[in-house]
Amino acid sequence: MKTVKVSKTSCIRLDLKLKGFEITLISLTCKDIEMVRNWRNSDEVKRYALNQNYITKEQQEAWFQSLQEKEDKYFVIYAKDEPIGLIWFNKRDETVETGFYIYDTTKQNSLTPYKIVSIFHEYLFNSKEFKTLTCKIMHDNQRAVRFNLSLGYKEIEIYEEYKSYTLKFDDYIKADAKISKLLKNEKK
């Protein structure tokens, strides 16, 4: 992992790259936000988003600028140098709310989501700053429910449109031990 801090301008944020399994997570910059807006407004992604509203260019720019004042961090997901999705965390006191989506549908039912989350969770828990991760999943997003349960997340609360889940460090360690072993167990 390489971390390079650059000056905080309206465009460039902390340049953070997380790498592993031919996946790279790179801090979101203003050059990415239009691409991300198009992803976010697509039927495939919007379908499972808590906010179903269409996002305008102006709203997207205002949102990106607002990130300067927050501890929320967004990363574009690259698979073999191709941008395929977005992953993020929003700090909330001692917990952190995470989420991600993969726009490239060819990667959704593959092992790519596990590779992405393996890198990301390792980064979050190794930072020692967070002991618990949370996420929200729409009721009809069964693929995400199955996926997150396999990561060690536990359902904690049910709301009208979604359920919230929590991943504690010990549960992460147990689940990640199996997942990491399988992802690295490739034919030599």
Partner: protein
């Protein structure tokens, strides 16, 4: 492990409440998602068979997976 046993284990890992058959296409299995792929890797690991992730992801059918696991048609 026999082919039948492999298919039973694979169905368990995919969390299917029915049996898998060799002639099924993966795109026709609603539950064939990332969890199913990880489950397939787990069963490969169980029987001591090795497979590249790319090879597994390129499988289009249960038969392809059986072939990778070393089971002949």
């Amino acid at each position: 492990m026999t082919q039948e046993e492999f298919l039973v284990r694979l169905a368990e890992e995919v969390q299917l409440d029915r049996a898998l058959s060799a002639d099924e296409m993966l795109c026709d299995i609603a539950e064939w998602d990332s969890l199913a792929m990880l489950g397939a890797l787990s069963v490969f690991d169980e029987i001591g068979a090795s497979v590249e992730i790319d090879e597994l992801e390129n499988c289009k059918s249960i038969q392809d997976i059986l072939h990778k696991a070393g089971f002949e048609a």
